[in-house]
């Protein structure tokens, strides 16, 4: 009886938080112009992928450099379903989750026996091998040109209620429900028995297996879940306009990982912060660098330099990320109070 109560509380809390998230995004978007609205949509989309890393690496300790490639899998699945089979966008998004989860199953089967650098290297190789399939079977995947897809137009009943809805606003309305549901699911997963199992595997594999946890099965499950999420994000990402190899570059995986690390690998709040940082950083840098005369060749690379440096700084000086730093701050204030 006690357990049911905690379940209900977590479920209720996470549902409330998801609604709060949903509403804050909408509120923010009303303050923004078109460009920033589309940035918000990007954040909402990439947040799903970053959350997959929070689950995979933060909660379960499995490092994967292939999340970007899984995003591509999801993107291509959804795009192909829409363009070749004429399915509806919404249905193809959902189906993309399953296709990516299937890929995650294969990843998990390979990863189950690996850890640390072996796992990182293998996922990196996979990350490069998967896009090469698109090049190999050019006819089917439309090679470098890619597939043009988009979110379509808002349904009439919606415009009747809210009036004119711009493309950017519509993209946000398409993505946000998925983000909210993923948010809800992630919170619950992390607080569930599965989440505790994953953390046990992360902290000490030997102890976990001695405690009766099936390491292989756990790792496979984590990869399946994380891949499903990444695939969904990839589908949503691609439907901004184009699904092509250039949309999912090889450093996408690193970008996602960086967002998760900077914000805090183990915290959902950290994922939110990290995604905001990664998406808005290039704009911020552009604003600052406008005050100085910098040749274009330099300013092109400033964002990636800043991202790389931030990652290094975080890993050396503040491994738990911004969320971790805030938590330590809170703890030290608490303990000072008690004294």
């Amino acid at each position: 009886m006690f357990r049911k109560k905690t379940h209900k509380i977590i479920g209720l809390r996470s549902a409330l938080l998801s609604i709060v998230l949903f509403l804050s995004f909408i509120l923010l978007s009303n303050q923004f112009g078109a460009y920033n609205q589309s940035q918000l949509a990007n954040i909402a989309t990439l947040l799903i992928a970053v959350l997959s890393i929070t689950l995979l690496t933060g909660a379960s300790g499995q490092i994967s450099l292939g999340q970007g490639a899984i995003m591509a899998v999801g993107g291509y699945s959804a795009a192909l379903l829409v363009t070749r089979l004429g399915l509806s966008m919404w249905l193809s998004f959902v189906l993309a989750i399953f296709v990516s989860a299937l890929f995650g199953l294969f990843l998990g089967l390979a990863a189950a026996r690996l850890s640390g650098p072996y796992l990182a290297g293998t996922t990196l190789v996979m990350a490069l091998a998967i896009p090469s399939i698109a090049v190999r079977f050019e006819g089917f995947f439309s090679g470098d040109v890619g597939l043009s897809v988009d979110y379509g137009v808002p349904p009439i009943w919606l415009t009747n209620i809210f009036g004119e809805i711009s493309i950017e606003e519509w993209s946000l309305y398409v993505v946000l429900p998925f983000t909210a549901v993923v948010f809800f699911t992630t919170i619950n997963l992390l607080n569930s028995r599965a989440g505790r199992t994953w953390r046990a595997v992360r902290d000490n594999e030997v102890a976990a297996s001695l405690a009766g946890i099936n390491l292989s099965r756990t790792k496979i499950i984590v990869f399946v879940c994380a891949s499903g999420l990444a695939g969904l994000a990839g589908a949503l990402y691609g439907f901004r306009g184009l699904v092509a190899p250039s949309v999912y570059p090889t450093d996408l995986s690193l970008t996602l990982l960086t967002a998760a690390v900077i914000g805090g690998l183990r915290s959902i709040g950290g994922a939110i912060f990290g995604t905001f940082a990664i998406v808005f950083l290039p704009d911020l840098i552009e604003k600052v660098s406008k005050n100085f005369t910098i040749p274009e060749s330099v300013s092109n690379y400033l964002p990636s330099l800043a991202v790389g440096l931030l990652l290094l700084l975080t890993v050396i000086a503040n491994p738990r990320g911004v969320a971790g730093a805030l938590e330590s701050l809170r703890n030290s204030i608490h303990s000072r109070h008690q004294k």
Partner: protein, 303 residues
């Protein structure tokens, strides 16, 4: 028959370069317990330096030597500036989980890679350049038949062979080489023998940096130089190290040559687009059939 010879010769030349990359990876893995994903980023950076020097009218060999020295310096800086602080006593408090302890250095090396690529973009506009060879890259002729091997291929194999011999002598016959082997095998006993293991480790990073610089200089004439061209080399080097045995220096060299032949034959007898898949399949096979690699030793898990 001709395609077989082509595959064989190109496989040898490519394999030599992969052996260098793999050797560099294994050096750092054994000495510091880190798989340095930034390794080819370092190589790319120092090759750009060499390219810049050649464009400023310096001779190839001067640029060559400078690149190697920069490689050593860069490797030492990475260890001193980033890897050491990362694993220092203060930071170990933050890393309470076992998987994080192995993951964080990997993430750090990826960060270094990103920074190096961006810096290359900033300093040299990320432009793709050719890179010269000191030896003409024409096919060698015997009588009137063209052999499937060029002068440059021979040059590559010779240099790599010389480098491997030097490295082997260093490790087996010199005191510093003994210190490095000992530090990798058992840091505590080595420290108790009065040897500063942290300095030896930095030297390992420097040597690895030199090896990767050399690989960069030898491969860019064929692949051209841009911030991203050496990524493939890292993948192959990693696979070669895994196949040969991450815990064995000789294994890394063996793995490099094996992969050179595999890729050459896939290129000639199958299609170049299949290379990535071939590498992946080879890696997975190696990991499942013999995870410690051909010459590696099984890690004993103490419970």
């Amino acid at each position: 028959m001709n395609s077989f010879l082509t595959a064989l010769f190109s496989g040898t030349a490519q394999g030599a370069i992969y052996a260098l990359v793999s050797l560099g990876l294994v050096l750092v893995w054994r000495g510091a317990g880190v798989v340095n994903f930034a390794q080819m980023g370092q190589a790319m950076f120092t090759t750009y330096i060499a390219s810049q020097m050649i464009q400023s009218d310096n001779s190839y060999w001067v640029a060559f030597v400078v690149a190697l020295i920069c490689g050593a310096l860069l490797g030492a800086i990475v260890d001193f500036g980033i890897m050491r602080p990362l694993t220092s006593r203060k930071n170990s408090k933050h890393l309470t989980s076992q998987s994080m302890r192995t993951t964080i250095p990997v993430i750090a090396s990826l960060g270094i890679l990103g920074v190096l690529k961006s810096l290359a973009g900033i300093f040299w506009a990320g432009e793709e350049r050719g890179f010269p060879t000191p030896v003409p890259a024409n096919a060698i002729q015997i009588g009137s038949t063209n052999l499937a091997i060029t002068g440059f291929d021979l040059f590559v194999v010779t240099i790599v062979f010389a480098a491997l011999v030097l490295t082997s002598i260093f490790f087996t016959k010199t005191g510093m080489g003994l210190a490095m082997r000992a530090s990798a095998l058992n840091p505590e006993v080595t420290r108790l023998s009065g040897i500063k293991v942290s300095s030896v480790r930095t030297l390992g990073w420097a040597i690895s940096g030199t090896a990767s610089s050399l690989a960069g200089l030898l491969v860019t004439p064929k692949t051209n130089l841009s911030p991203n061209t050496l990524d493939l080399l890292l993948i192959v080097g990693f696979t070669a190290a895994v196949v040969g045995g991450l815990s064995s220096l000789a294994g890394s060299v063996l793995g490099g040559f094996i992969l050179g032949y595999v890729i050459a034959f896939v290129n000639v007898y199958s299609a170049p687009e299949n290379v990535f898949m071939a590498i992946l399949i080879f890696l997975l096979l190696a990991l499942f059939i013999r995870p410690q690699g051909i010459l590696g030793s099984k890690e004993v898990r103490r419970v």
